[in-house]
Amino acid sequence: MAKADDAMITGAVGPEPGEIEDTTDLPAAAAAVVPAELVADSLRQYARARLAKTLSGDSGALPVILALVIISVAFEIWTQGLFLSPGNLVNLFIESMVFMTLGMAEIFVLLLGEIDLSAGYVLAVGAAITGILVQKPGPDWPWWLAVAFALVCCGATGAVWGTLVSRLHLPSFVVTLAGLLVMWGVMLVILGNAGGVSVASSVLPNQHVLYQIVNGNIPPLAGWIALAAIGALLGGLIWTRESGRRRRGLVAPPPGVTAVKIAFFVAAGIAVVAICNANRGALTRVVEGVPWVVPIVFVVLLVWILLLQRTRFGRYVYAIGGNPDAARRAGINLAAVRTWGFVLAAVTAGFSGVLYLSWQGGTSTNVNGGQYVLYGVAAAVIGGTSLFGGRGKIAQAVLGGLVIGAIYNGLYLQGVQVQWQLIATGVVLIGAVLVDTLSRRGTLSGSSTRI
């Protein structure tokens, strides 16, 4: 019996002889529902477990990556080499940034099992407020104060929706649908009769900074140095953390898996910087370097990952999405967490409004917030976030946003009219939900294999 007591449950421990065996815990079933990196001791075992999971229907991020590859190849052939040219890829990154950040905004509320339909027009209001405040003649605020004020205003609207949903128990679908209309009206009021504002002036420093967020580039050498620094820092952090956990006998993936993971991220970073650093200017004009928006969105992504994965608040967001009753009995303040979820979603949507303003060099009453919010939800769902709460990761918005951006960009390159863009995006969205639902049905427990 001493042997049984020595057995660590943290490892992959099978039932001890003479102990009551749990008959439902058959190896095949377990292989299908337990995350592969928890049961593997080596890279080879990990690959085998991962393959077993994929075959049993839980495919993780694979379908999105596959979809991205198929879309890229198809457009590359269709546009005869234009789609994957550096200049177009940078355009694609920039366009995707708005979809990505809107997707991040939606993930905050989707994880709670709610939805925010107002995000598109919160984006529009965020862009309008920021734009108006840096006009001269006009308020002529410093750019950072204008951005901060816009984000606070957007956050306040989120607080209103969140309070109505969490304290008065109104359905979030209806509350934020009303919010969509209200914010549409608010945007029209802010922009007034002029119908739009421009921030494309190169002589007004505050407008120039805003414009440069998306349209300005980091010098190529600085881009490489920054990538090396970030790669070394984050790679080192991940490696130290996981090897430390292995040393202390805690659950951690095998060293090979950690190394492959870090190598994958570094490779992706190198690819992005290499593409952006290629000269994409026409004729004699040199345009090169990573647009500032890329590292800015990356930092926002890291902060939100930290918040959702490493703090109590984030844990409670997942708990409420998974089982609100369990969360309530555990003493979690559901109303507060839900309200903050809506606030953070609205702040993130406002932030994507600032990116939109910079990208377009201004904003107008023509912003189609209704379409943007649907792209945001689509980015989250295509990335793999569940519409029913509790399952999803903020980083999934990146892949989902890229898919939306790629369709948008590729069809635009071909001069395909907007109606076909809409139809194509809709088909991809249905495909994503289909893959999600089928894979969930394929797994045995019917629940949560992708948290």
Partner: protein, 273 residues
């Protein structure tokens, strides 16, 4: 029998922060929790009449009763969710008022409800610490939580889970029950109340949960099992208390009862045997 060898090894391993009171005899005034003359009514409906109940440490008390006998109301009075209209509650010999669930857990009373209250999308460690996470400089202290959870599960000899980091949704019914019980005993608890712990389980998993209940007893905890499964009662209980229509109609050590007498008490309130 398997449970005997379990009992011996379990006393070697001690639960964190848990004083062993395994050898304490069960007399009336020695009981961890004593209820005296508990009355509770909701409007015109009298749910409990003058209920007395003793829950001694290191013993399993089965609370039996048909539907509507008042088992849940009595449990909720102990949990602090309901306040009794009359009657006294003694905790470790002192008269106390349990005004809310927080009071109950501060005394060391934990209740495992029938639906277990687990979040399927969170892993075992996350569920065991839900609402009481350890934090270090703003961020969750995953390492220390994982270690403490592993230790508790180990001391309860829950070793069939593949990984402590797997989502609770991927566990079997018995394992889920084990996680819920482990969560309850982690917090310095002295009394654990299990509501129908085997209701939805198959034969093997029921055995696993009953073994777990015995281990709690071996750790010196008072255990109350609410059930109408008489197999469970006679397999695991040291004492039996029977409620019928809000009255306690029988209470005593298990040897004073047999199946038929328990059924008689549950249905008619008395037994001729």
């Amino acid at each position: 029998m398997n449970s005997n060898s379990d009992a011996q090894t379990s006393t070697v391993v001690s639960l964190p922060n848990l004083s062993s009171a395994a050898a304490r005899p069960a007399g009336d005034d020695e009981s961890l929790l004593r209820l005296r003359g508990i009355d509770k009514h909701f409007g015109p409906v009298q749910a409990l009449y003058q209920v007395d109940l003793d829950l001694p440490a290191a013993q399993v008390t089965a609370l039996c009763g048909d539907n509507g006998a008042g088992k849940s109301v009595l449990t909720k009075c102990i949990a602090g969710i309901h306040q009794p209209d009359h009657g006294e509650i003694f905790w470790e010999g002192r008269r106390v008022h349990i005004r809310g669930p927080r009071d109950a857990s501060s005394f060391g009373i934990e209740i495992v409800y029938q639906d277990l209250a687990l979040a399927d999308n969170l892993d075992i460690v996350q569920n065991m610490f839900l609402g009481r996470e350890r934090v270090q400089r703003m961020f969750l202290d995953e390492d220390s939580m994982e270690r403490a959870a592993a230790e508790t599960l180990k001391s309860l000899r829950v070793t069939t889970v593949r990984s402590i980091r797997q989502p609770v949704g991927s566990l079997s019914g018995g394992q889920r029950q084990a996680v819920a019980v482990a969560r309850a005993v982690m917090w310095n608890s002295k009394l654990v109340i299990l509501d129908e712990p085997t209701a939805a389980l198959g034969v093997a998993q029921t055995q696993m949960v009953l073994d777990l209940v015995r281990r709690l007893k071996d750790h010196g905890l008072a255990v109350m099992v609410i059930t109408h499964n008489l197999n469970d009662v006679f397999e695991v209980a040291d004492r039996i208390a029977v409620l019928q229509l809000g009255r306690k109609v029988a209470e005593g050590v298990v040897s004073e009862f047999d199946r038929q007498s328990v059924v008689d008490f549950m249905t008619t309130g008395r037994s001729d045997r």
